[in-house]
């Protein structure tokens, strides 16, 4: 019982510290860059919104069903939304490349 408690506390804290360290490094890099580092295309911002919504809703689902004996799945509508977002992103990127080359 004590080992299980130690496993949970120790690796939970370490996971949080890892995410915090990674976020800190990424933020330092972002702060050191000039303007335009995040200047992206419309399809990039669209994909960002889709990713945040999908990951956020799945994260909430993970937290909600924690301790019920199974990992939750991703709903079909969420999967479809993410797939369409990715397809739009890749399609727009490919069209831009073709137009640049021609």
């Amino acid at each position: 019982m004590f080992v299980a408690w130690l496993l949970r506390v120790e690796f939970g804290v370490l996971l949080l510290l890892f995410v915090a360290s990674l976020a800190r490094q990424l933020w330092q890099r972002f702060a050191a860059q000039k303007r335009g580092y995040l200047a992206g295309s419309v399809e990039g911002w669209l994909l960002l919104v889709v990713v945040v919504v999908t990951a956020g809703r799945y994260g909430i689902e993970l937290a909600r069903v924690a301790g019920q004996g199974a990992m939750p799945g991703v709903s079909t509508s969420l999967l479809m939304m993410f797939g369409v977002g990715c397809a739009i992103y890749l399609g727009a990127k490919a069209v831009r490349v073709i137009r640049t080359q021609s």
């Binding site: 004590f2 080992v3 299980a4 130690l6 496993l7 949970r8 120790e10 690796f11 939970g12 370490l14 996971l15 510290l17 890892f18 995410v19 360290s21 990674l22 800190r24 490094q25 990424l26 330092q28 890099r29 972002f30 335009g36 580092y37 995040l38 200047a39 992206g40 990039g44 994909l47 960002l48 990713v51 999908t54 990951a55 799945y58 994260g59 993970l62 924690a66 301790g67 004996g69 199974a70 990992m71 939750p72 799945g73 991703v74 709903s75 079909t76 999967l79 993410f82 797939g83 990715c86 992103y89 890749l90 990127k93 490919a94 490349v97 640049t100 080359q101």
Partner: protein
């Protein structure tokens, strides 16, 4: 034919104590190793700051989404293992999600590598197309632009 009765030998009591201390020792060693890595990350001796950058130096949304979904699913599996001490059955929809995410990253990378401009650093002009047999020219650094009012 006489029946054979299988008896499973029980573990002696003193072995429980040894296993407990082995478990504690293993966890402390692993925790110390992880802490060492985290300290190196904090001191920037392990630098992951370019994790989200594309080849042209800009932030890449394709890399970001792959990182986000990998982390979310990894945290889910981690929490399950902590709770139940065994590996979970990963639902097919989660595998599909990871597949779409990784495919988007790989395809985006392929599109980016299909033209030389996608690989150039910011502020450089791509070299002109070289005819066969001629020597290629190095890329030219663009002159700084006057500030806009």
């Amino acid at each position: 034919m006489p029946k054979t009765i299988l008896t499973i030998p029980t573990m002696p009591e003193w072995m429980n104590g040894i296993l407990l201390w082995l478990g504690i020792g293993f966890l402390l060693i692993m925790g110390a190793l992880c802490l060492l890595l985290l300290v190196k990350m904090w001191k920037n001796e392990i630098n992951l700051s370019t994790l989200l950058e594309g080849e042209n130096g800009n932030a890449s949304i394709a890399r970001f989404q792959l990182l986000v979904f990998s982390l979310v699913v990894a945290v889910g599996i981690f929490l399950y293992i902590l709770e139940y001490k065994n590996l979970p059955d990963i639902p097919p929809s989660v595998l599909t999600l990871l597949g779409i995410s990784a495919s988007t990253y790989a395809t985006g990378k392929g599109i980016q590598f299909s033209r030389p401009e996608g690989l150039m650093q910011k502020g450089t002009i791509p070299p002109p197309v070289v005819p066969p047999g001629a020597e290629p020219q190095p890329p030219v650094i663009a002159p700084p632009q006057p500030p806009e009012n």
